[in-house]
Assembly symmetry: C2
Amino acid sequence: MTRTELFAHIRAKESFLCVGLDADPQKMPPHLQGDVLAFNREIIDATRDLCVAYKPNTAFYEALGLNGMRILKETIDYIGKDHLVIADAKRGDIGNTSRYYASFAFHTLGADAITVAPYMGADSVEPFLEYEGKWAIVLALTSNRGSQDFQHASQDGGEQLYAKVMTTAAGWGSPDQLMFVCGATQAEKFAELRRLTPDHFFLVPGIGAQGGDLEGVCRHGMNEHCGLLVNSSRGILYASAETDFAGAARASAQDLQQKMAAALKKYLP
Amino acid sequence: MTRTELFAHIRAKESFLCVGLDADPQKMPPHLQGDVLAFNREIIDATRDLCVAYKPNTAFYEALGLNGMRILKETIDYIGKDHLVIADAKRGDIGNTSRYYASFAFHTLGADAITVAPYMGADSVEPFLEYEGKWAIVLALTSNRGSQDFQHASQDGGEQLYAKVMTTAAGWGSPDQLMFVCGATQAEKFAELRRLTPDHFFLVPGIGAQGGDLEGVCRHGMNEHCGLLVNSSRGILYASAETDFAGAARASAQDLQQKMAAALKKYLP
């Protein structure tokens, strides 16, 4: 999916919602008896018109055992072509190895995008940028407490590491193939993040369970192509743990979609 | 496997060799017809007495398709309990997600250790340290060209990022549960790396195909428990692409083992 197509979906749906498909059998309604694919299908059917992207975190599918990647692949097939599918895998290795990760994410799984870790530098990310119409989403400023350890470290010259990562990585790939992960728990940072990379999309986790501020993120972070994909996982998936879970998920997604529609009206230049 | 047990294996075998099981069907001898498990078994049988660790890179198994992790699991089962098995996966995510990665590596696959990326900080690595007798191996200074992009960046105060990562992460886990990845292509750095973390083991890729300097690494990097696991992948696995591949792999591993025996005699305090 190209950036133009993504923006067209955002305008049509008045939504830049990404639903995080972090399916945990322990948290699913008991009547599903741990059937992750059945759970995902109901969540997808209940949210399809309200979101523009789905983001399965590969760790949750690995945790299902040796059959997990098959369940993930079937989930991605079920989503189809009208949503951006992000394999949240946080991969990164030397070039010849990243090439295998890229092939798995884009060919084997059929994802449109993959999250990647920047620590190993340019040649660890470049293999993900060699696929037409696919995306690499580089970790910049994450929403967890450990983001303080290195991401916020001041570099010689004064900038923080996340800023160095963003300005450096923006040189590796255009806004049509590269995004950044920027956590919503640091909404006050979005003005600076947007200055650093005016045109790139940000994938924004941390809304909902992690307490992020949607309004603040939009006020500071939106650009003329929206430039934001805001993710919610647990807040949608586990809005109810009873037989009404799909309806509850839809209500939760709809609540976010309505806030996003208002934010688009207010902040889209 | 504990650090004491690992050191006992190193002394008994006069070897700190780690064989990288990066099995690529394209590079395997034609008569195996792409059977990675058969290839791995022959490599393992040919090198078992010469090495103390095996390091399958998970990317290569993902690249085998949806059945890849099953082949990896069977490979690990075949290795058995007398070698340290390192899942080279370079994982790292927020705490509740890293917990799933740890479970997959240690429970599902049965690995003893996993490589992890430090960018997301303490809570992304801690879940890997909660397993008795298991190891997290944190990326510090890698052997690829992209290591220049961020790892060598000078921090406010003068230290480079890899040094900050090592001294910070050394506070997360003891030398009995945490190691560092330090690439052999920068052998001149090992005196400094060893000063930064005197007691931790280093997993050292980059010998062989990547041109690293084994002698230099040993001279500067060895400590009283050896403190080094030196990896070779392609140089052993693809020493020959004919039916004699296992014998050629053994010869290549033996050459390294003999150099290691000499280095242990020379440098072990």
